[in-house]
């Protein structure tokens, strides 16, 4: 596939902390980690999704002024950023594994409409739903 969404970025409060979380705990891989002065372009990938990169960016100069950056950091910390969804094959198993290594879960695995979903946050406050979709019978 050569067309489509390539990168979607999250704002995080600290890129080293975010890297430790997404790579060290969730099992993502680093795709790009390039510094240019104070700016650091950092993207990670889900190991089973090579065509998509998740950007882990800090709001700040040179892209944003200090007041805007501060407002965005507050929004992230308040959990006000849009919902994120991680698809998994085994919600309960993944929940147990991630919880054991210190991932902050906000909701235990719950059955809903045949799906199983759980909720967790990254250290910055971004909220994820982890969803195991109902297996479709063919």
């Amino acid at each position: 596939m050569s067309q489509g969404v390539g990168v979607v970025g999250l704002y995080v409060r600290d890129q080293d902390e975010a890297l430790a979380f997404y790579v060290g705990k969730l099992g993502f891989r680093v795709h790009t980690d390039v510094r240019n002065g104070d700016h650091r372009w950092l993207t990670v990938q889900h190991p089973e999704q090579p065509s998509f990169q998740l950007g882990l960016f800090t709001p700040g100069p040179p892209v944003l002024d200090a007041a805007t950056a501060q407002a965005l950091r507050a929004m992230v910390a308040k959990g006000a950023m849009p919902p994120l969804v991680l698809d998994v094959d085994d919600c309960r198993g993944t929940y147990e594994r991630l919880r054991a290594i210190g991932v902050e879960f906000t909701q235990e695995p719950t059955d809903r409409y045949g799906n199983v979903d759980a909720g967790f946050r990254d250290p910055s406050g971004n909220g994820w739903k982890m969803i195991q979709a109902q297996k479709r019978s063919h």
Binding site: R13, Q70, A71, R73, A74, V76, A77, K78, G79, P83, V85, E104, T106, Q107, E108, R112, Y113, N115, D117, G119, R121, S124, G125, K129, I131
Partner: protein
């Protein structure tokens, strides 16, 4: 108040309410979750999220009760008990104050409307249906009383 570290800890208190809104959440318990002094917690929470913690708790309970009314056949008494109320009377009164309808009316209306919500993650559905509790319940009650008195 824009210290992101503090906001992140206040979010943790909000998350804990979300995860167990049927439980009791005295300020002391919430303040502990957020590692904030009891004296500062309620004000900090209100500044961060625009609503005092107790009122936030009420909106979440009403939201859960509405979902149970819509999605289950549980008796209303059981729903009141499961969502954290000590008495059916308090539940019914608060529910009407917040939503403007009785639990029974909400159940009938929800069933009449054929929802196609299965394609949207349920967490998002419930957030979209969150009771918009911008005025205090007691204030709503006063207004309703004065409306009745004036008419």
């Amino acid at each position: 108040m824009t210290d992101p570290q503090l906001l992140r800890r206040l979010l943790r208190a909000q998350d804990r309410i979300d995860a167990a809104s049927h439980e009791d959440w005295p300020v002391r318990r919430l303040a502990q979750v957020s590692a904030v002094s009891e004296a500062h917690f309620a004000r900090s929470f209100r500044r961060a999220f625009g609503i005092p913690p107790h009122r936030y708790l009420l909106t979440r309970r009403i939201e859960r009760a509405t979902a149970l009314l819509r999605d289950t056949d549980l008796p209303i008494t059981e729903i009141a008990f499961q969502t954290g109320w000590q008495s059916l009377g308090t539940f019914g009164r608060t529910f009407r104050d917040v939503t403007g309808e009785s639990p029974g009316a909400v159940r009938m209306r929800a069933r009449a409307a054929a929802h196609q919500l299965g394609r949207v993650p349920a967490c998002i559905v419930s957030a979209a249906h969150r009771a918009d509790l911008v005025t205090a319940v007691s204030e709503k009650r006063r207004r309703a009383t004065s409306d009745t008195t004036n008419s």
